[in-house]
Symmetry: C2
Subunit: 233 residues, 2 copies
DNA sequence: CGGCAAATTGAACAGAGTCAAAACCAGTGG
DNA sequence: CCACTGGTTTTGACTCTGTTCAATTTGCCG
């Protein structure tokens, strides 16, 4: 369904994906289920919950490099990389479908257009990475935090898990800080300011947006990098 | 040659790539040759020179999100994205080969293994983006600058354009700042410190490394994210 | 020699980090 | 039903890394 939002997928292609799905697995919250260098034989299709990619530093610091929402083929890039240079962790309890790499080889060879759609979806991850680089490199803590809330609102809205004014986002402020390249103390102060300015509230694992237009203006959020429009075959 | 460093490419596959190459073009330095939203019909194989991807902010600030070295299929991701969300600019005079997307469709359908190798190369860009996120989010200005010098040393060494102790890197300090999410003034001070510590010197468009081991230690540089080892077919 | 972009330096300032304490809150067991 | 626990959030005071602004120097090129 999510792929169809951006590309025309034939019934045969959709069925090929369904057939490729192996085991369905549940993970608890806060579980690192892929470590760097671990050899991988399947990719993870996220059905329910939130997860993230992150890298550790030797002093215990951590940088989350992307958040995944339901519908994301979370580690499809492991199909070509064979092992990852980073870790993957659940942020909430998750339900995932495992898709063996051998099946991916089979269906991408049988359906070249589907191969390009999947390839596109890993390129979309790179688009998100680039936008985060801009946030981390150039936006202030406030703008950056606002931007993250805008991104998640948009991405969750696609899968009907966010309205214009609110969505579930059960991270701790420490995890938020690990996304934003800030300390949890500073994140707390920024959240206070966003709240006092009447833009967003982050509380009890929910984001409540009071003024989406203004929030986007503050964040300088332009959803172009999420490639929402439908693309030609 | 560069693809062969990481994957076994058959002669037929190599020939298919050669055949796919269209026009060879020269660009001057500091030319933005791809703007966001521009519809693209070919991808750019960088033969000579350095180029980068960057995003602009409304206040004139700019974040460079990746640097490309000779041998990189610099905007292969435009094959699946159709248009980019960012710009591409030359940092030096460049020679490039244009590869029409129609040709890419043809050769990836004819050679599925080659398709995966090309797919891999766009995933490698994402790996580099993630490492930059870590730098921008968690490393100090000094570590971050050291890390960039390590990355370029490694990537240029693959194409025999860098030794262990020096390589050409003709950027201005302002451009360096745009990579590092810093101001040019601060970059200047960081370069001074790196020089005084006897680690690296950046001068006259060259990087001279006096102590690579120590530089890597300071930067906490682990080349794993560049996937240098050869991978199974 | 002149012109100009790039590099360098200094001084003052601000955004974000550090450290430490306090308040809050959900879940647990008595 | 309530006290206890541990993790999370909140706040204050202080520090420091990196920015800003402005001036000066350097180096290249015609």
């Amino acid at each position: 369904m999510k792929l169809r939002a951006r590309d025309d997928i034939t019934d045969a292609e959709a069925e090929a994906i369904s057939d490729a799905i192996g085991e369905i697995v549940e993970y608890a919250s806060d579980v690192t289920f892929i470590a760097p260098k671990q050899e991988l034989t399947h990719s993870t299709l996220l059905l329910e919950g939130l997860m993230c990619r992150y890298k550790d530093l030797s002093d215990g610091q951590r940088q989350i490099t992307e958040i995944h929402v339901p519908g994301d083929f979370a580690d499809l890039h492991s199909f070509t990389l064979k092992h990852l240079d980073h870790s993957m962790m659940t942020l909430t309890p998750c339900t995932i479908a495992k898709v063996p790499h051998t099946e991916l080889t089979r269906i991408t060879e049988a359906y070249p257009h589907l191969a390009r759609v999947l390839w596109f979806s890993t390129n979309l991850d790179a688009c998100i990475h680039r936008e985060w680089e801009v946030s981390l490199g150039r936006r202030s803590a406030l703008e950056r935090t606002a931007h993250l809330f805008c991104e998640l609102q948009q991405r969750l809205a696609i899968v009907e898990m966010a309205s214009e004014s609110d969505y579930a986002f059960p991270l701790t402020q420490t995890e938020l800080a690990e996304c934003l390249g800030l300390t949890s103390v500073h994140v707390n102060r920024v959240l206070k300011e966003l709240r006092e300015r009447g833009l967003v509230e982050f509380r009890g694992g929910r984001v409540t947006i009071h003024d989406l237009r203004e929030l986007r203006r503050v964040a300088e959020f332009d959803p172009a990098y999420l490639y929402l429009e439908k693309r030609a075959r």
